[in-house]
């Protein structure tokens, strides 16, 4: 019971401080929105190509919008650990750990709050895409399914990022590793181009990139429909990402809290 109570209060604390800095929520949204608006203009003429809009129908926007959702969640969750670093540096974490608070709630609450904020951001992106004329094939249930996939992705990466913060302790190092991981993860995927238009090597590499599974799953749901053989694989891979991330984060936290 204490576990749930403590997690709830820490989630609330984290959400509250984020909501008090709405500037920050919109600042992190600025980049995905820019991509959504600019890329769909730049690549507009690709809309009729097979694998993008051709065959299945739709535009480059329909093809690209799910990728922007994944990108938003990836970047938002990969930087979640910086809040933990702040708490370590300012002594907030030590002070909390000297109370009877359930240890694991301290990291769990922060991760849950990160995922909640990411879903709010994803919702803003979807609303913007709808305004721009995106067509979502599976409607509201498909969007909810997409959100579930995004939650798994966010959970895994947020937990991983917090674990990384606890492991490396220094802001510069966490920043370097985070940048080193997120950029290739984004580009080594079918986020911008359909798989069969990618060079052979990239098409091979993307298959070991968890981000690609999220992109494929979200794109299936939003643009093409329930393609279950893709979706099952996506669910399994993202669930594994979530479990791996949470395990790593928990272990690092245990090491810190002794």
């Amino acid at each position: 019971m204490n576990l749930l109570r403590d997690t709830w209060y820490i989630t609330l604390r984290d959400l509250r401080s984020r909501i008090r800095m709405p500037v920050f929520i919109f600042m992190t949204l600025f980049q995905p929105i820019l991509w959504l608006v600019l890329f769909t203009q730049i690549f507009k003429s690709l809309g009729a190509m097979p694998g993008i809009g051709g065959g299945v129908g739709g535009s480059y926007l329909d093809f690209f919008a799910p990728g922007v959702l994944v990108m938003t969640v990836l970047f938002g969750s990969a930087f979640s650990g910086f809040g933990m670093l702040w708490d370590i540096d300012t002594g907030v974490l030590s002070k909390m750990l000297a109370t009877p608070v359930t240890r694991i709630s301290v990291i769990a609450g922060r991760i849950i709050a990160t995922v909640v904020v990411l879903l709010i951001q994803a919702l803003i992106i979807i609303i913007l895409a709808l305004i721009m004329g995106v067509h979502i094939k599976t409607g509201v249930p498909g969007v909810l399914f997409t959100f579930f996939l995004l939650s798994l992705l966010g959970l895994g990466f947020a937990a991983f990022s917090n674990g990384l913060a606890l492991l490396l302790k220094r802001q510069e190092n966490v920043m370097a590793v985070t940048n080193l991981l997120t950029m290739p993860l984004m580009f080594l995927s079918s986020l911008m181009m359909p798989p069969f238009l990618l060079p052979h090597w990239l098409n091979t590499v993307r298959q070991i990139n968890p981000i690609d599974y999220a992109v494929v799953g979200a794109r299936d749901l939003m643009q093409q429909g329930y393609i279950w053989h893709d979706l099952w694989l996506c669910l399994v891979v993202l669930a594994a990402v979530a479990v791996a991330g949470v395990t790593f984060g928990t272990l690092m936290f245990r090491a810190r809290a002794e």
């Binding site: 907030v92 974490l93 002070k95 909390m96 002794e258």
Partner: protein, 340 residues
């Protein structure tokens, strides 16, 4: 009755760094107990073992009747912790910070409301409860930090360098709060400090710690009396160079064995001479030294401070003396007055 009790408490960090090296002490209920020592002496490490943040390498510690390793969660319920860093959340109001800790300490909503009101009053923050902490001054943050360690009315409060970095006025007011707490709530305070004045004026008993070991323990008066009399500090040089060291060595040799000298400690550029009566010793010291061709540049007299105690036991100063120093001119005036 002892509320804190350690037995051969030791913490060794990787690289065989013995931060705390087998310390034994007891703190009695309702006492203000201070750990005094320079930075790196092992004060914070001791506090973190006592408040369950780090595990001892060996030895044991009992806090509020419970073992800090075996019953960590139970110990946490009974203690408050005020760290050196002010661990308050900037992006929340004072009340939100305090309420969160009320939940952590498993208090019910009604009790939290009452305590929040009471504690804000106690630390003098009434009226600022609903302001964001980011608008608080340094002193206000420290007081909030203190309040967060008090909401569950702990039996023991651990304070790590409670007034480091605060202006003298805020420091004095924090001392007031600490004394009030002990008086009104019967709490026990364990604090660390490198300010001699803080230990001197606030603590009932003091343990002087250096290089992970307790080197002396007692009330401030007991510790000072262990030196006896006055401290006359002689400096035969202006620059701290080799020649100066030589002068100090020679001065020490001259004064060695003189009946009025109870002890001596050479330091960087100075020689501390412990005597029973400083005013009568000064002319004698001057005479003896000038007789050997050692020219005294400055000579000062002071009552023994905790720094002198520290100097006597370790051969080092915690930092340059302050406050109670008497200048050469004042000594001459004292002597003149005596002669009249």
């Amino acid at each position: 009755m002892a509320i804190i009790e350690t037995h051969q408490l030791t913490k060794v960090f990787p690289g065989d760094i013995r931060a705390v090296d087998g310390i034994d002490f007891e703190v009695n209920t309702g006492e203000i107990f201070a750990f005094l020592g320079p930075n790196g002496a092992g004060k914070t490490t001791t506090i973190k073992m006592l408040n369950t943040l780090i595990l001892p390498t060996s030895g044991s510690a009992i806090v509020a009747g419970l073992d800090v390793v075996k019953s960590a969660t139970e110990v946490r319920k009974r203690i408050g912790y005020v760290a050196q860093d002010v661990g308050v959340d900037e992006h929340a109001t004072g009340k939100e910070n305090l309420t969160l800790y009320g939940h952590f300490y498993r208090l019910d909503g009604k009790t939290i409301k009452e305590r929040v009101k009471e504690i804000f009053d106690l630390v003098g923050l009434t009226g600022s409860e609903n302001r964001m902490v980011s608008t608080y001054s340094g002193g206000m943050r420290k007081r909030l930090d203190l309040a967060m360690g008090l909401i569950h009315q702990p039996q023991v409060i651990f304070m790590d360098e409670p007034t480091t970095g605060l202006d003298p006025q805020t420091r004095a007011s924090i001392w007031e709060y600490i004394r009030d707490l002990v008086k009104s709530k019967g709490m026990t305070i364990f604090l660390t400090t490198h300010y001699m004045e803080e230990a001197d004026r606030l603590a009932d008993r003091i343990a002087i710690i250096d290089l992970g070991k307790i080197i002396a323990m007692g009330t401030a008066d007991e510790l000072k009396k262990s030196i006896g009399g006055d401290v006359v500090t002689v400096s035969p040089c202006e620059d701290k160079d080799e020649a100066c060291k030589e002068f100090i060595r020679r001065s020490e040799a001259v004064l060695t064995g003189k009946p009025f000298v109870t002890g001596m400690k050479p330091t960087d550029g100075e020689l501390a001479v412990y005597v029973n009566d400083g005013a009568s010793a000064i002319p004698t010291i001057m005479q003896l030294l000038s007789g050997q061709g050692i020219e005294v540049k400055t000579i000062t007299m002071s009552r023994p401070s905790l720094d002198d105690v520290f100097l006597k036991y370790t051969g080092k100063t915690i930092r340059a003396q302050e406050g109670t120093r008497t200048t050469f001119a004042q000594i001459r005036r004292m002597r003149d007055r005596r002669q009249q």
